[in-house]
């Protein structure tokens, strides 16, 4: 399993990359592995939407499971990765890169403080695989 050292993570397996006031969201390598072959991605938030922390912003579906992507941050959606609707397999092949889901302009950067760093997340994943 891959872990990107510079990112922050949630306990529902989303990752967040922060650049200034902009946060980019995606799902982790652990999450894509649990889902297996992803066949569908739908980002339900639109550019311009104001989203709240803990709201569902996207759905990622494999043949066996479907998972809601929960935003750990609040703010305004400034970009959505449209390409994923036609190439959902990128979630499997490049979860931390090409398969970013959306970008949010943070309204409360302090929300990031509750997230795990790479080290804590790695331990969190290891504890779950029995």
């Amino acid at each position: 399993m891959k872990i990107q050292p510079t990112l922050k993570y949630t306990n529902s397996d989303e990752w967040v990359a922060v650049e200034g006031k902009t946060a980019t969201l995606g799902v982790s390598d652990y999450a894509q592995d649990q889902l297996s072959d992803v066949v569908f991605v739908e980002v339900s938030a639109n550019v311009g939407d104001i989203i709240k922390k803990n709201s569902a912003v996207a759905t990622v579906e494999s043949v066996k499971a479907a998972s809601d992507v929960i935003s750990p941050v609040s703010g305004k959606v400034i970009a959505v990765n449209e390409v994923l609707s036609t190439t959902p397999e990128q979630v499997n092949s490049d979860p931390f890169g090409a398969a970013w889901l959306l970008k949010v302009e943070l309204s409360d950067p302090a929300e990031l403080d509750n997230l795990m760093d790479a080290e804590a997340y790695e331990k969190y994943c290891a504890d779950r695989s029995h």
């Binding site: 072959d37 066949v39 569908f40 043949v63 959902p88 397999e89």
Partner: protein
């Protein structure tokens, strides 16, 4: 072997049925409203009959052999049911005929309502729901309507054990409830302490499958029901597993407030490759007024010379109508036929032998497979389809390998609380010999899992088609036949 589609078999100019020429003077058609192209295939009757006969030969069915799908109650479907449901006096009646011309349909529906009341211990039954999932939805709607009728609008939560069927939370969500999962304890019962901690005045009800999907009768069922009642909630019984309880215990007596029946599971109506089902709902006295409309009632009592007059009535505070007309009438005739042939002793025997068969199979398989909850089961049980010392083998592989031994696999990956679940329900209609053959196959497969795991991974080998690419199906999404150009 693959069979061409009905469109690929089409040949321009063929006709399968001929109709008489019009015997009335002709009227012009409104040309501007007519369609130009009618893209249907063209075949002779022989083409059609052979095509569907070929297709049928690609199916496994109960008449082929054991179909031990847990929680689906794939019992033998008596042939007489097919005769009675097709009697022209039943099959050729229009649902909107005047009631006096179809008194027998109404009488038969009334009788079945009475039978189901007696079997379940409830005060009222409505036959209308079309399937188990719809019966459940009706149950949830009744719970909501009941609380609202008492001005109690704060009850927004529906408690659902983590072992429940997915339809329970889905039905609850459709009716606007917030779903709160209830954990199971180490013995597979509802975790009573956890339940007590959740129960408060925001709880609308609990949806309880008993025996649950682990095949276990909840040892604390009376206490569970009492707890929910004490909080002001109602207890809904999922009737999926009623085949364990006929003449054994009546949900109404245990304190359940309402439940649905699956005529297609418990009362032997055929599953039809996925429907039609039939999901009547039974309720206690205080919920009768909320049943869907219509229900059948005696409008005028009979006398010595005259039978009673039956008719449809609308319960006073009904949740409304949930399908056209009155229910899956053809299934109602079949279930009626079945119950008449069983009688009270026969029904009890059904459940006794369903439970005997499950426990016998369990006794033969335990050891070779991990039994996560070590208790006597009711009509079904759940094993783990994986082994620590055969790490590459999954429950799905066991299931697929069973096909090579000419058996339908058990339910896979359900309930979700068991790792790599194999859920096995043999039903009462299987003989000891069949169960032994199945057990032998299962034991052989457990052995193969360790000695020749590749045999399981690549199974099935002996079916019309091997494992299919589900990822491709979901991604490419081809949902319709390709139509040849010249059609």
């Amino acid at each position: 072997m693959t069979e061409p589609t009905i469109y690929e078999l089409s040949s321009t100019g063929r006709v399968g049925v001929e109709y008489p020429l019009p015997d009335v003077p002709l009227t012009d058609f409104p040309v501007e409203l007519l369609r130009e192209d009618l893209p249907l295939p063209e075949l002779s009757e022989v083409d059609v009959v052979r095509h569907f006969t070929h297709l049928s030969s690609l199916n496994y069915c109960i008449d082929t052999g054991l179909y031990p799908l847990g929680s689906c109650t794939m019992k033998y479907n008596p042939k007489i049911n097919e005769e009675t449901a097709r009697l022209p006096g039943f099959a050729h009646t229009h649902p909107l005929q005047p009631a006096e011309t179809v008194q027998v349909n109404l009488a038969l529906m009334f009788e079945l309502q009475e039978f189901l009341k007696e079997i379940s211990g409830f005060a009222g039954v409505c036959l209308e729901p079309a399937a188990g999932a719809q019966g459940e939805m009706v149950g949830v709607m009744i719970i909501r309507a009941y609380h609202r009728s008492r001005g109690d609008s704060k009850r927004v939560k529906m408690l659902i054990p983590d072992s429940a069927h997915g339809t329970n939370p889905a039905s609850s969500a459709m009716s606007g409830f917030e779903v709160v999962p209830v954990p199971s304890d180490a013995s597979g019962n509802v975790d009573l302490a956890a339940l007590k901690a959740i129960c408060d005045d925001t709880v609308a009800g609990l949806m309880l499958t008993n025996p649950n999907t682990l095949g276990l009768f909840d040892e604390n069922v009376l206490e569970v029901i009492k707890t929910v009642h004490a909080a002001g909630g109602l207890v809904y019984g999922d009737g999926a597993n009623l085949n364990a309880l006929l003449g054994i215990a009546r949900p109404g007596d245990l304190g359940f407030d309402l439940m649905h029946f699956n005529l297609h599971k418990t009362f032997s109506t055929p599953h039809g490759g996925g429907g039609p089902g039939s999901g009547p709902v039974g309720v206690t006295k205080k919920l009768i007024d909320f049943l869907p409309t219509p229900v059948v009632a005696v409008i005028e009592e009979g006398s010595e010379e005259l039978p009673p007059l039956y008719g449809f009535t609308t319960p006073k505070q009904t949740i409304g109508r949930v399908k056209s007309f009155y229910g899956q009438f053809g299934m109602i005739v079949r279930a009626f036929t079945y119950i008449r042939m069983q009688g009270p002793d026969g029904l009890k025997k059904v459940s006794q032998y369903a439970v005997l068969n499950a426990n016998y199979l369990l006794s033969r398989l335990q050891g070779a497979y991990v039994l996560p909850y070590k208790r006597r089961c009711m009509h079904e049980f759940v094993l783990e389809g994986c082994w620590a010392d055969a790490p590459e083998v999954h429950a799905m592989d066991v299931a697929k390998r069973l096909m090579d031994y000419k058996f339908h696999p058990p339910t896979n990956y359900f309930p979700l609380i068991v790792h790599e679940a194999l859920m096995i329900e043999p039903t009462e209609t299987e003989s000891m010999q069949t169960l032994d053959l199945f057990a032998d196959a299962m034991l052989k497969i457990a052995e193969e899992a360790h000695t020749h795991p590749e045999l399981l991974k690549s199974a099935p080998h002996d079916t019309p088609i091997s494992r299919l690419d589900e990822v491709k199906a979901a991604k490419d999404l081809v949902l319709c036949c390709w139509i040849p150009e010249d059609n």
